[in-house]
Amino acid sequence: MTFSDYLILFGGMGLATYLPRSLPLIYLAHKKMPQWLIDWLSLIPVAILSALLAPSLFADAAARSFAFGKLELLVAIPTLVFSLKTRSLGGTVLVGMLLYWLGGMVY
């Protein structure tokens, strides 16, 4: 691929990435949002975070099949408990990494 081939490809991808991020923000920030929309949107973050996390803990990515007892899941349990107790983002990240690293040696 030449320089201009890459430019067309990545330029197109850039637009396909930027528009879904910018249009709703620019439109909705200058519009009075109805209360039902605000209420519904307030539940979106917890739902999105769960939907991003759960398949990586409960499913095998290569085979796309259900998997119970992956190292990711085993580490997630103490990491979750730590985060509930301490409410510390940095601490949770480090504890998760440490456990995953140690777990990888024995698992």
Binding site: M1, D5, Y6, I8, L9, F10, G11, G12, M13, G14, L15, A16, T17, Y18, P20, R21, S22, L23, P24, L25, I26, Y27, L28, A29, H30, W36, D39, W40, S42, L43, I44, V46, A47, I48, L49, S50, A51, L52, L53, A54, P55, R64, S65, E72, V75, A76, T79, L80, S83, R87, L89, T92, V93, L94, G96, M97, Y100, W101, L102, G104
Partner: protein, 231 residues
């Protein structure tokens, strides 16, 4: 530099460090894969600069490696990034009336990770748009550098060092905990988890993220409304 600006930068950087830590190994991995797929380092730099979207970039590299066409890759990118419509809409609640130039600059850096970090802080009421902007663009800078490093020298980095591959998972776990501010949030989160796993197993592609989160939020919203009416 003005003291207030320094504080904004410092607090933004403090919020962004878990993202940066998590982006580094992923960016390296992407750079290595891109190099193996035949992309020169400057093309990797161009891609990360124009397209700040990790999962779409991984898919793009895989598609280039299998010889997919340019329109097919762009369309796939669009579909994979549709979930950001939801995230930008949520952020709009906290950026009401902000000028469009700022929003145009801010929107570029809305990713799963920056969204989760900024939203958590906006909710606590301890955040403003400038700190949020620092988070977005610092994460982006680290991402671009990590992918270039990966393309140039990634094959020399040992795999899985120090459990760093778990950084973003750990961050998402904690940010999820921060979101659990009442029973309806816990129910919605559990619903989204169950639906996303089912959706992931049954339907190919990435629609499980948008599909499961919108369904779970809708059910959660209806439950909440019924509960309120019942009182």
């Amino acid at each position: 530099m003005h003291e207030a600006n320094k504080l904004t930068l410092r607090q933004g950087a403090t919020a962004a460090w878990p993202i940066c830590l998590g982006y580094f190994p992923i960016g390296l991995a992407l750079g290595v894969l891109a190099q193996k797929a035949g992309l020169p380092w400057w093309a990797v730099a161009m891609m990360s600069g124009l397209v700040f979207a990790g999962s779409a970039q991984f898919i793009c590299v895989a598609m280039i490696a299998t010889g997919a066409s340019t329109p097919a890759i762009i369309l796939t990118t669009f579909v994979v990034n549709l979930r950001h419509v939801l995230m930008s809409s949520v952020l709009a609640v906290y950026l009401q009336g902000v000028n469009r130039k700022f929003l145009a600059l801010f929107a570029y850096g809305v990713t799963d990770e920056s969204f989760a970090v900024n939203l958590t802080r906006f909710r606590k009421g301890e955040w403003d748009r400038w700190r949020a902007l620092v988070v977005n663009h610092l994460a982006n800078a680290v991402w671009v550098m990590a992918t270039i490093c990966g393309a140039l020298a990634g094959q020399f980095v040992p795999q899985g060092a120090l459990g760093i591959d778990y950084a973003l998972t750990g961050m998402f776990i904690c940010l999820l905990v921060f979101q659990l501010q009442g029973r309806i949030y816990i129910i919605t989160g559990l619903l989204a988890a169950a639906l996303s796993v089912l959706w992931y197993l049954l339907i190919p592609g990435d629609s499980y993220i948008v599909g499961a989160s919108m369904s779970a939020a809708t059910i959660g919203y209806l439950l909440k409304r019924r509960h309120r009416r019942g009182k």
